[in-house]
């Protein structure tokens, strides 16, 4: 009952004209960013963070704007998957498999609207999951001391690589690199400068927003410059959208699929390190095994469109659970959202629910509102977004680059930060080439200081005894999960990831 009272308070916060307008703006921008290949949810949220700050928005309105972008991008990714057979963002990869064949059969409109409904169902159920699960997780997290938190952070890093990379050594490298970057600046506990090389600008530490925008947005510009992508314009024009509402029989046929995959996607989202890409992948393969009796998956089966879309949107909601309740994000975009919270001086984690209930519940209410807005934007108005797809990268990418510069310059007004951002852009490009995942780097820069503080606190409390780190049953459980999570992908993960790759390549070659 308490939950419903909280939720009602949340709606009271979210239902102001200002916040509704921000949610609508976020949904709209998010859908565009999701739809455009090369601008994913993490990029999209990253380049908008500075905007939210400079608009002078408070914590709740900023979060409403940016999580609407996040949900919107998850919706938008499917549009280019279906029409162009190019995933608009990574989680939309699996939607290509059946979405594009459906469009080729002249059912583009049906595929778009059906996937819109599936996205809605997934996101809607996941938001309920968030409401029910997050407070329970908070109760557990309140038992955590510094040693448990240190173990939890380690768990987050060790499990993150499982899905985002085929090579665990590379994800460990990325995490260590991020943690190392976070060490730059004046040590908060003793006041000595570390790794600053006498550069005064570095005494405050690296601004993680600079790192995020550089690594995600600028490296994307470099990738486009390198490959000079052919434009996808020609294809989209050939496909006619057709009717914008799926027949009732199609909805009936896909309803059980949507419900099953929403649950599956949500679970995948909550698990650390998994995120939306895994959610859509698991959903698709599970449904394929379960209902694909006539081998119609991959040839334009509506269920093959509904499954990954419900799955990835449910996972997007699920990924918010650990981010809000524990302060440990499980995916790239939730890491970026964590950056937003940290920049607003809000510490996520169990105390967030007691200290800033207005932020949490306002955000959750906004998610519901955004979800309905997205359904409205994505079904009748999907034609608008398909036109956006016609913007070629040679016009889009300069704008992305310039907005990145503007955003960072707007926060600090310093040329030094811009140069650091360019440095991160180059580094991001090289690391992407080498198949090193970028998300652990971001997570490392975000969580590095908190992780170190917890370590030092735990050991100081126990008078310098390092064994205190594995002294309680909770820490032992967390460390065991962390170690299993790190080793298991070395054994199993390679197969799963290889299969994902194969499916993806198959989809693009078709």
């Amino acid at each position: 009952m308490e939950t419903f009272a909280n939720l009602a308070d949340g709606f009271a916060i979210a239902l102001t004209w200002n916040n509704l307008w921000l949610a609508l703006l976020g949904c709209f921008l998010g859908t565009i960013m999701g739809a455009l290949p090369g601008l994913g949810p993490s990029n999209g949220v990253a380049i908008l963070i500075p905007l939210a700050f400079t608009m002078g928005l408070g914590a709740t309105p900023s979060l409403i704007l940016l999580t609407s972008v996040y949900y919107g991008a998850m919706y938008g990714g499917r549009i280019s998957s279906i029409l162009l057979n190019i995933p608009g963002d990574e989680p939309a990869m699996m939607t290509c498999l059946d979405g594009h064949p459906m469009a080729k059969k002249g059912l583009a409109g049906e595929a778009l609207s059906l996937s819109g409904i599936a996205s809605f169902v997934g996101a809607f159920l996941a938001t309920w999951g968030l409401i029910l699960l997050a407070p329970q997780l908070v109760k557990i997290a309140l038992l955590f001391g510094p040693a448990e938190y240190f173990a939890l952070f380690a768990l987050a890093f060790m499990t993150l690589g499982g899905v985002s990379s085929t090579n665990q050594a590379k994800s460990a490298f990325a995490a260590a690199l991020g943690l190392g970057l976070a060490m730059i600046g004046v040590d908060t506990q003793t006041g000595v400068p570390r790794f600053t090389f006498g550069e005064v600008h570095l005494y405050d530490g690296l601004d993680f927003l600079v790192a995020i925008v550089g690594l995600f947005a600028l490296s994307e510009v470099f990738i486009f410059l390198e490959e000079r992508h052919g434009s996808a314009e020609a294809d989209a024009k050939k496909l006619t959208i057709g009717r914008l509402y799926p027949p009732a029989s199609m909805i009936k046929q896909t309803a059980p699929t949507m419900l099953r995959t929403s649950v599956l996607g949500f679970i995948a989202g909550v698990l650390p390190g998994a995120g939306a890409s895994l959610g859509s992948f698991i959903s698709y393969s599970f449904e394929k095994r379960l209902v694909d009796k006539e081998n119609t998956f991959g040839t334009g089966d509506p269920r093959g469109v509904a499954a990954p879309e419900a799955g990835n949107n449910a996972a997007a909601g699920g990924a918010l659970v650990p981010m809000l309740a524990l302060g440990v994000p499980g995916s790239g975009t939730t890491a970026v959202l964590l950056a937003v919270l940290l920049s607003l001086n809000i510490t996520p984690g169990p105390l967030l629910f007691t200290q800033n209930p207005d932020v949490v519940w306002g955000l959750i209410a906004a998610l519901f509102i955004a979800n309905f807005m997205l359904l409205a934007l994505n079904i009748p108005m999907v034609g608008l977004f398909t036109r956006v797809l016609l913007v070629p990268p040679r016009i889009l990418m300069p704008i992305v680059a310039m907005v990145s510069f503007v955003g960072i310059y707007g926060i600090s007004g310093s040329t030094f930060d811009l140069l650091v951002m360019i440095g991160f852009g180059v580094m991001g490009w090289v690391l992407r080439k080498l198949d090193v995942p970028l998300v652990p780097i971001i997570l490392g820069t975000l969580l590095g200081n908190a992780m170190e503080n917890n370590l030092r606190r735990a050991i100081t409390i126990d008078n310098g005894n390092w064994w205190t780190l594995i002294d309680s049953p909770l820490t032992i459980i967390l460390w065991s999960i962390a170690i299993i999570g790190f080793i298991l992908p070395i054994v199993v993960g390679r197969r799963v990831k290889a299969k994902m790759r194969r499916d993806e390549e198959g989809a693009i070659q078709d």
């Binding site: 460990a172 260590a176 943690l179 040590d187 016009i395 680059a401």
Partner: protein, 143 residues
């Protein structure tokens, strides 16, 4: 081969990081772990993972040809110039030039890239500065 070089570079980075961590001057305030404890753990993870990467390399990535690399380098130089000249030339002019350059290198014609540059520069100026009130670099001409 790429991964072997990468691993060696990573290892050097880890060693450098560890050396820098050991050289952190001690403060009169101190705790049980000290300011260099955690960085040393990080350096160890960095070093170990680099060694594994060097010993068990993945297949080499597809590196761009020299021409494309020069292209990327030119873009980086352009961006650095942009960052340095932004406070001098003012936002609108600097951004128009930079965006036009990028658009041209991504395959637009001369006219189209000039239009893209001017369009995105003025567009960003209007939306971010005039509407949202973001402070942008001001040049000699006042914009």
């Amino acid at each position: 081969m790429s991964d072997r070089i990468f691993g060696v570079v990573g290892l050097l980075l880890a060693i450098g990081f560890a050396v820098a961590a050991l050289n952190i001057e001690e403060s009169f305030l101190s705790d049980a772990v000290g300011p260099s404890g955690f960085p040393l753990i990080v350096a160890a993870v960095l070093g170990l993972s680099s060694i594994v990467i060097a010993i068990k390399p993945d297949a080499a990535p597809h590196w761009p040809s020299l021409g494309r690399l020069a292209e990327l380098l030119a873009a980086v130089v352009m961006m650095v110039l942009y960052a340095e000249l932004l406070p001098v030339a003012g936002f609108v002019i600097a951004t128009a030039v930079a965006a036009a350059y990028l658009s041209w290198r991504l395959g637009s014609g001369i006219l189209a890239s000039v239009l893209t540059g001017v369009g995105s520069s003025v567009g960003i100026y209007v939306i971010f500065h005039l509407i949202f009130g973001l402070s942008l670099a001001t040049g000699p001409l006042g914009f």
